[in-house]
């Protein structure tokens, strides 16, 4: 029996009440928190121990850190190992990582669930991983002192470095391996002991801040890294999903498999009965090989009822959004400071603008897949997934069993970007495995993957700004209309109470609009577009709401600057005065803006005709977990409206750098995502279905489209922030503002097209 219990609702694992155990098990030294199911049992019965606690040290001295986070290219497993390594005093080449199962003992210590997103991992795990590393060092040091025959007060004379504990005075030393083999390193830390551990100060760091070689990279250069799609189980069959022409709401009327039966290797067509309502109208063609499953899928003749969304298009969703925005009683308030409506009445100037973004598709390079195997009471799922806690529950729902009987085997993720927070792939895999009585690996075709994406929703925003007689921004009211990606999960803890007490709202549609600018009268209304919510079930796409809210806010700030004759960067600096609730954050954001301006040479040179620079600065992601990022975009605009991005300069304040090179890689990747979303990626809905099916019609940035990207990382000693997402959100408005400065054309719709630029140029 496994011990997976109660893993549907996010619960806080309160480490403040738990002891940390260091003990000897059959496989070496194990270290983890007590009171979390599994750890104390493991220590009590070492022969049954699975090395799946936070970390373990083998008799050979190898330190294996178990990562409860999904690693989708952000190298978070390696980062977790680096944080442990710093305090433990191990040698980097002794460090190893493994990926955790969905056992609650690997839940995030802050979030109380296994979920990876929000650029949260480093900031929320830094302290706990540091203390775990330090506790291990203390236990090893005490054991070494005893073994060396030193009295306890000589402990402070021991030096721990590169997995060796040495006592320079007596010239004695022991390796971690020696100590583990001695079996003497056993210690329990109470919660108070743990809290009392004095962690290293930054001047003592030897690992944090060093760009050590990422532990996962060699396996990603020789084909040995195993992703979900690479899982092979004995006796396994393969499934190809057949998805309906409508994104959501269709049902299968009939399946004719007479032609599929002629395909060699065909096993069965399984109609998915999805009680979790994650999918609708799906069929799985199961065969001995995937190539056969694809052929069989093509041979199935399926009749559908298109359902209630079968006539909808992007235009219908946009029209509905505009209708909802026009109603006074729509939505709920996310921000309600002062009284913008009164302020508009006395304003010297009022500006109004609509900003839109189209549907965007995650399209990670590894298409969605999952492998399901029923073994006795237990359902085993093999899949790279960002939200094991919920995905396990969805798999259980698809199987009709209790979630405690589901074991999720984590794999490397061939891209996540938020797509693998969703669990749709579990459903066909589980039901196919159940129907054919053998393990089944379901792999989406690229066409399935694109047309059934939990996409970034189509958004419509209306921003109204009032400027007083002195040219100061007196009021902003901001309406955000979209599908609600997080509300779809049905987990109340992920929703936010509205300030007007009209019930919870999905803050993952409005985050970012609660900016750090000082604006005395400020409303933000979150309006759910129910039609879009039903027709295009949306998801979390890298950076989520700040990807559209800052498009609106940062474009409007420039529009105000233009209307009042101010330099847009100087206007931002004046708004970032750090008054009241903005104290701290505003100043940090101002500093990143200044850094980006300096690095880009903003305002220092006259640009040729048709070229311009634009700025934007963002506090992505949530206000409570903000990072500080600014961008200067340098563009050239041709008379045809065609835009060439010459350079993106991005500055980001990360507080503390764990791995400087990785931060640069993440920020550059995120900035190029921002560029791709700004200029190249657009999906559209027609007759209820997503029209783009592959990389010929949905076209992420390619190498030839890459501009020069300059990144400045500010490490000012504050706590480590997340870096995987914020740079996505800052790029589109910086480009839009640069286009205006280059050509006079104000664009308000993403992606930006040459036609829109040309149409908005002043004649």
């Amino acid at each position: 029996m496994n011990q997976h219990v109660k893993n549907v609702t996010a619960e806080t694992t309160d480490l403040s009440r738990r002891s940390f155990l260091v003990g000897t098990a059959a496989t070496g030294l194990v270290l983890g928190y007590a009171g979390v199911p599994g750890v104390s049992e493991a220590l009590a019965a070492p022969s049954n121990f699975e090395p799946s606690v936070w970390y373990s040290i083998s008799p050979e001295g190898l330190v294996t850190v178990t990562c409860g986070k999904a690693d989708m290219g952000q190298h978070i497993a390696s980062t977790m190992a680096q944080i442990v390594c710093e305090e433990l005093g191990a040698k980097w080449s002794d460090m190893r990582v493994q990926l955790a199962s969905n056992d609650p003992k690997f839940n995030d210590p802050v979030l109380g669930a296994q979920i990876t997103g929000g650029s949260w991992s480093t900031m929320m795990n830094f302290d706990a991983m540091s203390r775990a590393g330090a506790a291990g060092r203390i236990a090893l040091t005490e054991a070494a002192a005893a073994a060396m025959g030193l009295p306890p007060f000589y402990k402070d004379e021991l030096v721990v470095r590169d997995s060796v504990i040495s006592h320079p005075k007596s010239k004695k030393q022991m390796t971690f391996a020696d100590i583990v083999k001695s079996g003497k390193a056993t210690k329990t830390f109470t919660a108070d002991d743990l809290k009392a551990i004095k962690l290293k100060t930054p001047d003592q760091y030897t690992m944090i801040g060093v760009s050590v070689p990422q532990l996962d990279i060699p396996s990603k250069t020789n084909g040995t890294a195993k992703y979900g799609i690479d899982v092979m189980l004995p006796g396994m069959a393969y499934g190809k999903v057949v998805t309906p022409p409508v994104r959501f709401g269709a049902t299968v009327k009939s399946v004719d498999d007479s032609d599929a039966k002629k395909v060699p290797g065909f096993i069965k067509a399984v109609i998915v009965d999805d009680k979790t309502q994650t999918t609708s109208g799906w069929v799985v063609a199961v065969a001995n090989t995937y190539a056969q499953a694809r052929k069989a899928a093509d041979a199935l003749k399926i009749a559908y009822d298109g359902g209630p969304n079968a006539k909808l298009s992007s235009q219908s969703l946009l029209d509905e959004a505009k209708r909802l925005q026009g109603l006074d009683d729509s939505g709920q308030y996310f921000v309600k400071d002062g009284d913008p409506n009164a302020a508009f009445g006395s304003a010297a100037k009022v500006l109004e603008a609509e900003y839109t973004t189209n549907i965007n598709i995650h399209a990670p390079m590894e298409p969605m897949n999952a492998t399901a195997e029923f073994k006795g009471d237990i359902l085993h799922i093999y899949s790279g997934n960002q939200f094991a806690t919920r995905s396990g529950a969805i798999a259980a729902g698809a199987a009709g069993i209790d979630p405690k009987f589901v074991v999720m085997h984590q794999m490397w993720l061939g891209g996540g970007f938020g797509r693998r927070l969703d669990a749709d792939m579990m459903v066909p895999a589980v039901q196919a495995a159940k129907a054919v009585g053998k393990p089944v690996k379901v792999i989406y075709s690229r066409e399935n993957d694109m047309t059934m994406d939990f996409s970034r929703p189509l958004t419509y925003q209306k921003v109204k700004a009032g400027v007083d007689g002195d040219g100061k921004i007196a009021a902003i009211s901001h309406d955000v209309v979209s599908a609600w990606p997080t509300a779809r999960w049905g987990i109340p803890d992920f929703l936010t109470p509205s300030v007007d007490q009209k019930g919870p709202l999905d803050s993952f549609t409005v985050n970012g609009s609660d900016f750090f600018y000082t604006v005395p009268n400020h409303y933000v209304r979150a309006i759910k577009n129910e039609m879009a919510h039903n027709a295009t079930p949306s998801g979390q796409l890298r950076s989520v709401a700040p990807g559209w809210t800052f498009w609106a806010v940062e474009s409007m700030i420039d529009e105000i600057a233009a209307a009042t004759g101010k330099d847009p960067a100087q206007l931002r600096i004046s708004l970032l005065d750090g008054a009241g609730k903005n104290d701290g954050g505003a100043q940090r954001l101002r500093n990143t803006l200044l850094a980006a301006m300096g690095l880009a040479g903003y305002g220092t040179k006259k640009l040729p005709k048709g070229e311009g620079m634009g700025v934007a600065c963002v506090s992505s992601q949530e206000r409570a977990t903000a990072s500080w990022t600014a961008c200067v975009a340098h563009v050239a605009v041709a008379p045809s409206g065609a835009v060439t991005v010459k350079k993106l300069t991005v500055a980001t304040d990360v507080g503390t750098q764990v791995h400087p090179d990785n931060i640069r890689a993440q920020v550059e990747g995120a900035a190029l995502w921002g560029l791709s979303l700004a200029l190249y990626e657009k999906a559209t809905l027609k007759d209820g279905g997503i029209e783009q099916t592959n990389f010929d019609s949905y076209t992420p940035l390619r190498m030839s489209q890459m501009p020069e990207v300059a990144v400045a990382v500010i490490a000012n000693g504050e706590k480590a922030t997340g870096v995987g997402e914020p740079a996505v959100t800052v790029v589109a408005p910086a480009i839009g503002n640069a286009i205006f400065n280059a050509s006079g054309a104000r664009v308000r719709a993403l992606p930006i097209t040459a036609e829109a630029v040309k149409a908005n140029m002043k004649a």
């Binding site: 996962d216 990279i217 250069t221 020789n222 084909g223 190539a291 690229r446």
Partner: protein, 163 residues
């Protein structure tokens, strides 16, 4: 049953002649370093070499490559130490890593013919390979580093050494 000459070994695969090479490699031969990305020759994740040329294995049928010399990422070098693989580690290129086998195989075909490519030649040669993590600048740097190493190695290989 078609027989494939792959990474220097001759192996028969239980697959129809019109089976894409990609799936025969991955499933029949259980070499999973070659990746499925789009199934339409649009992304390059499945790139392998056939007689030294980079091809998309999702668009290449098993029946068409019998008797030809196929190389996958697993066979590019004996110990994962092709100059490109070393350069990929030195430049810390991969993020998620999923497209990188295809990127490396695509780049290897370029360097086998042109060990001194310009940046423009690299971009033109690599533009069919998508990287959703957008590691493009590091891919470029790694290709240039590997090219430089290959030139140095071949120059020193030509030197006369005292015996």
């Amino acid at each position: 049953m078609p027989t494939l000459t792959i990474n220097g070994r001759s192996m028969s695969v239980d697959a129809a002649h019109d089976t894409p090479l990609l799936w025969a490699i991955r499933e029949q031969l259980q070499m999973t370093g070659t990746k499925f990305g789009c199934g339409a020759g649009l992304c390059g994740a499945c790139t392998v070499h056939v007689n030294g040329e980079a091809v998309r294995s999702c668009q290449t049928m098993v029946g068409d490559v019998a008797g030809k010399k196929i190389t996958t990422i697993e066979g590019l070098s004996a110990k994962g130490d092709h100059p490109l693989q070393k350069a990929w580690i030195a430049e810390q290129v991969p993020q998620c890593g999923y497209c990188q086998s295809g990127q490396i195989m695509q780049a290897a075909a370029l360097l086998s013919k042109n060990s001194n490519p310009t940046k423009e030649e690299v971009v033109a040669h690599m533009d069919g390979n998508l990287c959703r993590c957008m590691t493009y600048s590091r891919i470029q740097k790694a290709i240039m580093r590997a090219a430089s190493e290959m030139r140095t190695a071949s120059a020193s290989g030509n030197e006369r050494r005292p015996t």
